[in-house]
Symmetry: none
């Protein structure tokens, strides 16, 4: 009966091709030869009796059926990985993997500290950190590719039902200036000073930009009048640019601790303006929660959580659904 006309390997190959964009690179990423890929895909196409790629000689593009299979294949692979981890966890916490997602700022300055602590406690659990946009991170959590994430922006509307979103702590954004900037002399600066600065920022799609827009607008600052001199895609790069006197920027205070101490960047205080955003932890409560992620939530997260949010974090750590482990006892006997 119900023969399945494809193998997991074939699905993984398909996924690799989609990710790498070519048979050859997929072959490299899977550490096999290119013909192996070609042949597996050909077998797959034969078995399904559907072409999966449009071969235009130089590049191969997924057909509609190919895309469909890819989408399902990714789901299947994710489920298989979840299976592996469930079994690993069953053994103990002497192995397994924890995958944490984060956005630029939290991923660079907050999570490394957390992961360090976790690693000290559970040295046999391998931890992965994936830094992506809020949007992509949210989807990764929803799909189960990531166990939990800490983000600073809004979760896409379509995921707000699915994900557990727990306010976690406040992140303060600071205006930073080169230390030799005239305004750096003053104790505080005033709103109008903001219009005379040149800014270096992340790209306009970034969460920090969106949050900044919102908060500044609320403080009666017209963000469209701020002169943006340069857009860079890394916070470290921005800091270097500011330090070199190229302009001002807004960054999380957690990102500039070192630089402030060394006096190579100046933090300006704006009279009557305080820019805060709330960082949130997101998890997918409908999925199996691994022992490792349970431990992270219970033992690491509280150490960095602001007090007013500790209660909701605690509630989360109690909400682990024991998915579907014991709903079937099968005993083989005569």
């Amino acid at each position: 009966m119900s023969d399945i006309p494809f193998s997991l390997d074939q699905l993984r190959i398909l996924k690799a091709i989609a990710e790498e964009g070519s048979f050859k690179r997929a072959a490299d990423s899977l550490f096999v030869s290119q013909p192996a890929i070609s042949l597996q895909i050909q077998n797959l196409e034969k078995q399904l009796a559907v072409p999966l790629f449009d071969r235009g000689g130089r590049k191969a593009q997924l057909t509609e059926a190919g895309n469909l299979l890819l989408a399902y294949g990714e789901k299947i692979i994710t489920l298989c990985q979840e299976t592996c981890r469930a079994i690993e966890d069953l053994q103990n916490l002497q192995g397994g993997t924890l995958i944490v997602g984060a956005s630029q700022t939290t991923g660079t300055y907050l999570l490394p500290r957390m992961i360090g602590l976790f690693h000290q406690k559970y040295p046999y659990v391998s931890v992965q950190l994936q830094v992506h946009s809020t949007r992509r991170t949210s989807w990764a959590v929803a799909n189960g590719q990531v166990d939990l994430a800490i983000i600073g922006g809004e979760v896409p509307l379509e995921l707000q039902e699915i994900l557990e979103i727990i306010p976690y702590t406040e992140d303060e954004l600071a205006l930073i200036l080169p230390p030799n900037h005239p305004l750096a002399e003053q104790e505080t600066i005033v709103r109008d000073d903001l219009y005379n600065l040149n800014y270096i920022t992340l790209d306009s799609q970034s969460t920090i930009r969106k949050v900044l827009d919102q908060v500044l607008t609320r403080c009666q600052i017209n963000t469209s009048e701020l002169k943006i001199e340069m857009e860079l895609n890394s916070i470290e790069a921005i800091k270097n640019a500011v330090q070199s006197g190229l302009g001002a920027s807004f960054v999380s205070v957690t990102a500039i601790e070192k630089e402030l101490k060394m006096g190579i960047i100046h933090r300006a205080h704006i009279q009557g303006v305080e820019i805060q955003r709330t960082l949130s932890v997101i998890v997918n409560s409908n999925r199996y929660r691994s022992k490792a992620s349970e431990a992270f939530i219970k033992e690491i997260l509280p150490q960095f959580c602001s007090e007013n949010h500790l209660a909701s974090l605690d509630r989360l750590s109690k909400k682990n659904k024991d998915s579907f482990t014991q709903d079937k006892k099968i005993i083989i006997e005569s």
Copy 2:
């Protein structure tokens, strides 16, 4: 990286054992020998480094890990079966997407009717209509972003080799006037009358403008002497403007059926001048043609095709690359 330590076959074996209650009967139900089952389970246990059965000689009982894997395995198998069904459905036109491209006029007045018919016949296929310039539409077909398109202008030179361009039907452009315009009284008007009108047109890059220029020039009308009063970017807007007495315009007769019937727009006939353009179907024969687009070409297009072009349309529908149906050579030999 993420190697999956089990195969779908192994999961199916595990499931069969659970269902049948013994290795031997599982073997029978899967039409393989009993050792095959034993070995596969042993491999599985080796790869997962977990015993799945408690062997007590006569009977084998699932361990906790075995139960866990079984529960996940069943989920995975179900998802795989769903995948098969989705792909089968796509073949049988019980799903999938058809993307049709068109220019303003055809997209507004011709294609909606076609798509309506198609949708009646294949309600589970979702149809998308993309209205763009001839140029952009042509590229979309070349890239495979659009399955097929109907256009009124010239395909860019660099794509003429790649695309199949099939003359499809003639579209007549009519001069339209406000019904209370003095010229609307006359049975026909003469060429020189054209120079005394104010025109409302699409922008000068539009296909209709280019075609119009060509055809009118061929009729010895100096298009640069025609007074263009206004450029609008929608045909509906143009009709409304003409109707309100703002000027004259040239539009496809298919665009003004309703208005003529209601008498709110007047169509003027110019003595000795008939403005026609040829609409063409374009497809990319080098790409896999989805079942849905095949059906559209075979069953919908002919209904709106002018007779003199039916033959070439028919030729097109036979030119589908039967990709890999024919390579199932079965050779019988010793």
